[in-house]
């Protein structure tokens, strides 16, 4: 089966610093990746996505980097704010597995004011 894992289960950063959340995936055939943010008591919320033919994609205060050589994905959050405190999941999608997304365990980000 698929294996999507995160390197660190928890991360604490000072407000205003940059945050980096990492994710390892096991299927080199994965076509598409999404980062989700999940706040307590809410469903996951889409942050940013990237296709396997890209190395980097930027959004508002967020950047996703994809390293297919080592099967590694990272989410960078610039100038982290208290509202960024949440659990972050990476999810991978592989065409061969029939439109199913596999989610990692998640990293809990805490922003210290």
């Amino acid at each position: 089966g698929e294996s999507v894992g995160l390197h660190l289960p928890t991360l604490s950063v000072q407000e205003g610093d940059n945050s980096i959340i990492n994710c390892a995936y096991s299927n080199s055939a994965s076509d598409y990746f999404i980062w989700y943010k999940q706040e307590s008591g809410k469903g996951p919320q889409f942050i940013i996505d990237i296709r396997s033919n890209m190395d980097k994609r930027q959004g508002q205060r967020v950047t996703v980097l994809l390293n297919k050589t080592v099967k590694h994905l990272s989410l960078q959050i610039a100038a982290t704010q208290p509202g960024d405190s949440a659990v972050y999941f990476c999810a991978e999608w592989t065409r061969t597995t029939g439109n199913q997304f596999y989610f990692g365990t998640g990293t809990s980000l805490t922003v210290i004011p």
Binding site: G43, F46, F101
Partner: protein, 115 residues
Amino acid sequence: EAGVAQSPRYKIIEKRQSVAFWCNPISGHATLYWYQQILGQGPKLLIQFQNNGVVDDSQLPKDRFSAERLKGVDSTLKIQPAKLEDSAVYLCASSSTSGSSYEQYFGPGTRLTVT
């Protein structure tokens, strides 16, 4: 645009009882997903519908779980009988088949506690 609606938000039942969850996806979204999220873990797909047909139910415990999506809009997920290990948040998500993004929009979830 209204988001994905789910009800109830919370449910507490005893083991061996039955329970049902309801989901109303975003209007016009053809694809609907049910996920199970156990505390401390990422969501795990239980079943995926395309309109009112099942696309993937390979991880649905069919001896106790069932789901339907009549008329290709609302969906219900049922558990009968429930076990202690079914305690989790049940998330519904929907997505559009148009466009190049596979973005799924999630509802707030139903937190199920089985005692």
